[in-house]
Amino acid sequence: SRPPRSTHHEINVRSYLETFGYLQKGLPENLLLEGDYEDDFRIAIKTLQEFGGIPVTGVIDEDTKSLLKQKRCGRPDREIGDEENIRRKKR
C-alpha cells in the first residue's frame, strides 16, 4: 500500500536529509512500494539532531527547523562508506 502523500514541508526536509546523507538517495522510488518510509525518516531526523548538537527528539521541532536553515557545507555529513549504517536493518 502506498503511504500517504507527503506534505511540501516534509518533502523539503526529506530532500535535505537525502542531500546530506541521512536518508539514502533513490530509496523513495522503492519505498513507495514498500511503505517503510516513516521509520527511516524518523531515524534520519534523530541522526541529524545528534550530529548537529541539538536535542534528539525524532520530530521536526524548532531547533531542527533552525538547524535546517543554517548555512552549511554542501558535502554530505555521512559518506558513501556509511551507507550500510544508514540503511535500516530488515525487521
Binding site: 552549511r72 557545507c73 558535502r75
Partner: protein, 536 residues
C-alpha cells in the same frame, strides 16, 4: 574528526584559482590571498606544504560557480549551501567549488551580513585533504557555518585529524639550520661556574609570510648557496661534446657553432683565419648505392654526392579502383547500440542512421533501415540518435544532441524540436545517453554521463531533487548507451556491445559481467561474437 579514507601521497601540494571561474564579486588577488591563508591554517598544523600555481592541473583547483556546474552537487543560490570540495584523488579530486551567489567577505570581521571566505575555504580545504565532517561543535570541520574569529587557530579536533593523516609539522631547531650569509646572531653559550651548562640561544622569531607560496622550498629561510667557483671573469669549462660524425669525443676544445650540421664544417676563409681551431676535417659517410637512401637529419652530407638519393620507384601494376561511398551501416552482429526502445510493443534498436525492428514474429526483413524512412521529420544531417522512448501518452521521443523531437506515430508534432533545457535539464548538457519509463514505478528517467534525472511527465519538468549520481543503479557504471524495459517487465542497460539485466527491487544488476548483445537481441551465433570480439 572523521577521516574519509583517501589521502594525498605527496605532501607538497599545489593549488590554483581556476582562471575561467573566478569569483564574480571579489577581487581575484584578494581572493587568492584569502585562499592561501586558508591553506596555511592546515600547513601550520601538518607536514603539508602548499604552492600556488597557475594551472588547472594543480592538486587543488578552486572555482566559483552558480547552480548546476557539471557535478552532482548543484548550488542553491544565496544561503544554505555555501561550497563543497572533493576528497583527494586525481582529476576532480581535491577541487573546491564555492557558490558564486553567496555574499562572500574577504575580511573576517565583517561577516555579520555576508559569509567569511576564509572560514568556508579553510573548511573546504579540510575535505580536499581527506577529512569528513565532524560532529564536534566548534571544530572547523563542523558542517554548519560558524564564522571565524580573528587570530584563528586550528581547533584540536581538526588538528588531531590532519596530523593522523599527514603527521605533525616538523620544525627544525633554529641552531641546526645552516644560515648563509650570516646576518643573525649565532648561538651564544654561557658556561656557569657550576657543572650545569646553560645554553641560551638567541632565536630569530618565527615570522610567517602568507605570500611565500611562490617559493619552491617552503622553508622559512633559504638554504645556503655554494660559493661560486667560477666568477664571471673566469670562463666556465664547457661540457665535453661529440663531434658531428659521432666518432670523436672532444674534451678539450671549445664547441663549434652547431647551427646546422649538414653544413658543418664548411668554414669560410674569414672564419678559418680567425678561428683555426674550429676547423677539423670530417669524413663523409660513403653512400651505399645498393639500397635506396633516405634522408638522415643531423647527419653530415657531402654536397658533391647526390644525397639524399631519391627512393627507387618499383613499377606497379595499374589497377582501377572504384571509390566506395563511406557507409556507417552497422554490422548487425558486431556493434553497440545508440538507443533501444519498446515502441507499440515492438523492439526498436538504433545505431547511427539505422535501426532494426523486432516484432512478435521476430526480426523484420530488410533491416537495418534508415531511421528517416520511418520518421521523416528528423533532421536531414543527423548521424545518430542519443535516446528514444515511448512516453506514457504513446508519443515517441527522440533526443538528438540538445534537442527533443516528439512524434505522434510517424509525424513530428508542431513546435518541435525543442531544447532539452526546457525540460529542466541543464543548458550545459550536450546530450542524453538514455531515456526510459521505468516499469518499477512508471516514472520517466533520463541518463547522461554520471548523472540521472527523474522526469515528471505531467509537469513537463525534471523533479527538483535531481540530478543524482548513477551509482544508485549499481553495476551499470557511468556513460551508458541505452536502457529500456522489455516485455518481461525487466530493465535492461546497454553499454558497448553488451548489456545487463537489472533487478529493480535490489537496485543492482543481476549479473556483474555483461552479456553480449548480438546473440540475445539480434539472434546472432554466439561463436561469431565471442571469436570476433572478446567480451569484457
Amino acid at each position: 574528526f572523521a577521516v574519509q579514507g583517501e589521502k594525498w601521497h605527496h605532501t607538497n601540494l599545489t593549488w590554483s584559482l581556476k582562471s575561467d571561474r573566478p569569483p564574480s564579486q571579489l577581487d581575484p588577488y584578494g581572493t587568492r590571498d584569502v585562499l592561501a591563508r586558508a591553506l596555511d591554517v592546515w600547513e601550520q598544523a601538518s607536514r603539508l606544504t602548499f604552492r600556488e600555481v597557475n594551472s588547472d592541473e594543480a592538486d587543488i583547483v578552486v572555482s566559483f560557480a552558480k547552480r548546476y556546474h557539471d557535478d552532482a552537487y548543484p548550488f542553491d543560490g544565496r544561503g544554505l549551501i555555501l561550497a563543497h570540495a572533493f576528497f583527494p584523488g586525481s582529476g576532480r579530486g581535491g577541487d573546491a567549488h564555492f557558490d558564486d551567489d553567496e555574499l562572500w567577505m574577504l575580511s573576517s570581521n565583517d561577516d555579520d551580513e555576508g559569509t567569511s571566505l576564509l572560514a568556508v575555504a579553510a573548511h573546504e580545504f579540510g575535505h580536499s585533504l581527506g577529512l569528513s565532517h565532524s560532529s564536534v561543535k566548534g571544530a572547523l570541520m563542523f558542517p554548519w557555518y560558524q564564522g571565524i574569529q580573528p587570530n584563528f587557530e586550528l581547533p584540536e579536533d581538526d588538528r588531531n585529524g590532519i596530523q593522523q593523516m599527514y603527521g605533525p609539522k616538523v620544525r627544525k631547531p633554529w641552531a641546526k639550520i645552516p644560515y648563509y650569509p650570516v646576518d643573525s646572531q649565532p648561538p651564544t653559550t654561557t658556561t656557569t661556574t657550576t657543572t650545569t651548562t646553560t645554553t641560551t640561544t638567541t632565536r630569530r622569531p618565527y615570522i610567517h609570510h602568507h605570500n611565500r607560496h611562490n617559493r619552491p622550498d617552503h622553508t622559512p629561510f633559504a638554504p645556503p648557496r655554494p660559493p661560486n667557483k667560477y666568477p664571471t671573469y673566469y670562463p666556465r669549462p664547457r661540457p665535453p661534446y661529440y663531434t658531428p660524425d659521432r666518432r670523436h669525443y672532444n674534451t678539450t676544445e671549445e664547441h663549434p657553432r652547431r647551427t646546422n650540421h649538414n653544413h658543418y664544417p664548411r668554414p669560410t676563409p674569414h672564419e678559418t683565419t680567425t678561428h683555426p681551431t674550429t676547423y677539423r676535417p670530417v669524413r663523409y659517410p660513403t653512400v651505399n648505392t645498393d639500397y635506396p637512401s633516405y634522408p638522415r637529419p643531423n647527419y653530415p652530407t657531402d654536397p658533391r654526392h647526390d644525397y639524399p638519393r631519391k627512393p627507387y620507384n618499383h613499377p606497379r601494376p595499374t589497377t582501377t579502383t572504384r571509390p566506395t561511398p563511406p557507409s556507417d551501416k552497422p554490422d548487425t552482429c558486431n556493434t553497440s547500440y545508440d538507443a533501444v526502445a519498446l515502441i507499440r510493443g515492438e523492439l526498436f534498436i538504433f545505431k547511427n542512421r539505422y535501426h532494426w525492428r523486432i516484432g512478435a514474429q521476430g526480426h523484420y526483413p530488410g533491416y537495418p533501415m534508415d531511421i528517416s524512412r520511418m520518421w521523416p521529420g528528423l533532421p536531414r544531417d543527423f548521424t545518430r540518435v542519443d535516446a528514444v522512448y515511448e512516453r506514457p501518452d504513446r508519443k515517441i521521443a527522440f533526443f538528438i544532441g540538445k534537442e527533443l523531437f516528439l512524434f505522434d506515430t510517424q509525424n513530428l508534432l508542431p513546435g518541435y524540436p525543442r531544447a532539452i533545457s526546457e525540460l529542466g535539464l541543464p543548458s550545459s548538457l550536450e546530450k542524453l545517453d538514455a531515456a526510459m519509463v521505468w516499469g518499477h514505478n512508471g516514472k520517466t528517467y533520463f541518463y547522461s554521463g554520471s548523472l540521472y534525472w527523474k522526469y515528471d511527465e505531467e509537469e513537463g519538468h525534471v523533479e527538483l531533487d535531481y540530478p543524482r549520481d548513477m551509482s544508485m543503479w549499481k553495476g551499470v557504471g557511468y556513460n551508458i548507451d541505452s536502457v529500456f524495459q522489455w516485455k518481461d517487465g525487466k530493465t535492461y542497460f546497454f553499454k558497448g556491445r553488451g548489456f545487463w539485466k537489472f533487478n529493480d527491487l535490489q537496485m543492482k544488476v543481476e549479473h556483474e559481467r555483461q552479456l553480449p548483445s548480438a546473440p540475445f537481441w539480434m539472434g546472432c551465433p554466439t561463436e561469431r561474437t565471442s571469436r570476433r570480439s572478446p567480451f569484457r
